[in-house]
């Protein structure tokens, strides 16, 4: 994988790569009749920087690799596009996303898709699973990374794991929150109640004993620097709150985060927004 990464970095800038990846995400979701546009587009910069600059994955010593879980599994098309780009499977598979007999299920399936470390889809479980992995790979000097949604952090199990990780002072567990400010429906239409999925999420993790870093989730350089800072912090668990825009890259989607949590795009809309 190192060879492919170096090749990619030579051929295109990060901007060009991510523009292409975004197009592939939208393409794949259109072909599958719609899907989780918003959350896939908000998380993709985070994922690309992680895979290209941070995760230590060597196919010759695969069992010693850093582990990665996309706990907000509904955004998996972003991860699939990246895995295809990195050579885990042929990019022609993306056209079969979510279809019967495809190796790309609607939510990550570790038993079907190369490159998926653990299945996800039922929100809230990834942080605990990553904690288990981090305990088991400590001796390899490897890290377990997990990306969660901010809405996902409403699940109680997330905080069970946060408590235990802090008590354990686990130094090789790295969490990232794709903090895009929305969920599927939530309190968006409620006149009286707060709409933010988890208010003051940074303070909440801090109060649970975590090291908290915050970053612009679409600033490639800042992401790389912040992830490296997280990587080098080993006194306890670390979370990066990445502030993102749901639907990032397409104004139509950025303007309607509820519709595009899981929605469809008409042909005429697609023609208007496509960057091809």
């Amino acid at each position: 994988m190192v060879g492919i990464k170096e090749q990619l970095l030579k051929e295109q800038s990060l901007d060009e790569q991510l523009t292409e990846i975004r197009e592939q995400i939208v393409d794949a979701l259109i072909k599958s009749g719609g899907g989780h546009f918003g959350g896939s587009l908000s998380v993709v910069d985070i994922l690309w920087i992680l895979y290209m600059k941070i995760l230590r994955i060597d196919k010759d010593n695969y069992h010693l690799r850093d582990r990665f879980i996309l706990s907000k599994g509904h955004a998996c098309i972003a991860q699939y596009v990246i895995l295809a780009k990195l050579g885990y499977f042929d990019s022609s598979e993306l056209a079969n996303y979510g279809k019967y007999n495809s190796i790309l299920e609607g939510h990550p399936n570790m038993l079907k898709t190369p490159g998926i470390d653990f299945s996800s889809g039922s929100l809230g479980q990834g942080l605990s699973i990553a904690l288990g992995m981090s305990l088991g790979i400590k001796s390899f000097n490897a890290d377990a990374w997990v990306v969660m949604g901010d809405g996902e952090c409403q699940e109680g199990q997330v905080w069970e794991a946060a408590l235990l990780a802090s008590r354990q002072k686990i130094g090789n567990l790295k969490a990232i929150v794709d903090n895009n400010g929305y969920q599927e429906y939530g309190w968006f239409y409620d006149k009286n109640l707060c709409k933010i999925p988890v208010e003051r999420i940074d303070e909440k993790f801090q109060s649970f004993g975590w090291k908290v870093l915050t970053v612009d989730g679409h600033d490639y350089q800042a992401l790389e620097e912040t992830f490296k800072e997280a990587q080098s912090f080993t006194k306890g668990p670390c979370v990066v709150i990445a502030n993102t825009v749901k639907g990032k890259g397409y104004q139509l989607m950025e303007d309607d985060p509820i519709r595009f949590h899981c929605g469809e795009l008409s042909e005429s809309e697609y023609k208007k927004i496509s960057k091809k």
Binding site: H63, R67, M110, L111, D117, F118, S119, G121, S122, G124, Q125, S128, I129, A130, L131, G132, M133, S134, L135, G136, I137, A144, G156, Q157, E160, A161, L163, L164, R167
Partner: protein, 294 residues
């Protein structure tokens, strides 16, 4: 306590086994592991969902975790985590549900697990063991250690009294007769009480002790179908969707008389004998019903 003792000895030879516990180690026997192998004992606190998922993650990177809690909290509180992290992912996670069944002592209904077999046996990949004696338990644990499949070990609150044990998934505890009782776990001892009551009426019954209840062993189905006649199935579980149902779905074609808790029972505070006599597993009642079959 026996499970923790047996497992801690096995851990002497197997460096990959870890034990996780949900703050009940001194009630469920995991304490014996903590004392002998503190480096491989992970106290997870009162957080069963996290605990099961941590075990799934540990298993994914090569460890062999055993997760201990009361059956009620393990199976019900963490069912989605078992479904996804253990069953669907087919991880080598062993789940030990202590205090299973309707005999809860003073604890009462919140601590009763009377449909845990229904939940666990209906999850793909998960084997279910229900030993009736220390010897059965030793065999069950040894088999679970050898098999990399996920598994659920169901243990009652009452200590398991000794019985003639065989290293088999099921066996005849009393030789076959025209009417036979099939039981598992604590109900094997209830079956023995019923046998004594029936002998006073000059009725002799056979008793099958089933240690591995899911999947139902094919050899058990073949044996029961060969014998024919009546099979009285006694389980410390609701009558619905427990062992009797599993036997029926597995192809047992003789008449099954299902003895288990009725749907009016939630579990209740009380000594073993009080609960036994008050509800559907009353040995005298069952003996009388069996005598009416003759």
């Amino acid at each position: 306590m026996h499970c923790g003792k047996i497992l801690s000895r096995i851990m002497d030879e197997d460096p990959d086994i870890y034990v996780l516990d949900g703050d009940l180690a001194d009630s469920n026997g995991a304490i014996l592991v903590h004392e002998r192998h503190p480096d491989r004992f992970i106290m997870s606190g009162i957080a069963e969902q996290c605990m099961v998922s941590v075990a799934a993650g540990l298993s994914n990177v090569g460890a062999k975790p055993w997760v201990f809690s009361f059956a009620a909290f393990l199976c019900y509180r963490a069912y989605d985590q078992i479904r996804i992290g253990v069953s669907q992912a087919c991880t080598n996670v062993k789940l030990v549900g202590s205090h299973a069944g309707g005999f809860t002592g003073r604890n009462g209904q919140t601590h009763a697990a009377v449909n845990d077999i229904a939940l666990m046996a209906s999850l793909p990949n998960i084997k279910v063991w229900s030993p009736a004696s220390p010897g059965n338990l030793q065999y069950a644990i040894q088999q679970m250690v050898k098999d990399p499949s996920p598994a659920y070990l169901r243990l009652p609150r009452e200590p398991l009294a000794d019985l003639p044990s065989q290293e088999k998934e099921w066996y005849w505890l009393q030789p076959p007769q025209a009417i036979n009782i099939l039981a598992t776990g604590i109900t094997v001892h209830i079956a023995l009480e019923i046998k004594v009551l029936l002998e006073k009426m000059n009725i002799v019954v056979g008793i099958i002790n089933v240690n591995k209840i899911a999947p139902i062993p094919e050899s058990l189905v073949a044996e029961v179908n060969k014998i024919g006649n009546h099979l009285v199935v006694i389980e410390d579980h609701y009558r619905v969707f427990g062992l009797a149902n599993l036997l029926s779905v597995a192809g047992v074609n003789c008449k099954i008389h299902s003895k288990g808790w009725g749907m009016e029972f939630f579990g209740e505070s009380g000594d073993y004998v009080d609960i036994l006599n008050a509800y559907d597993l009353n040995p005298s009642d069952i003996a009388r019903e069996i005598s009416n079959l003759i």
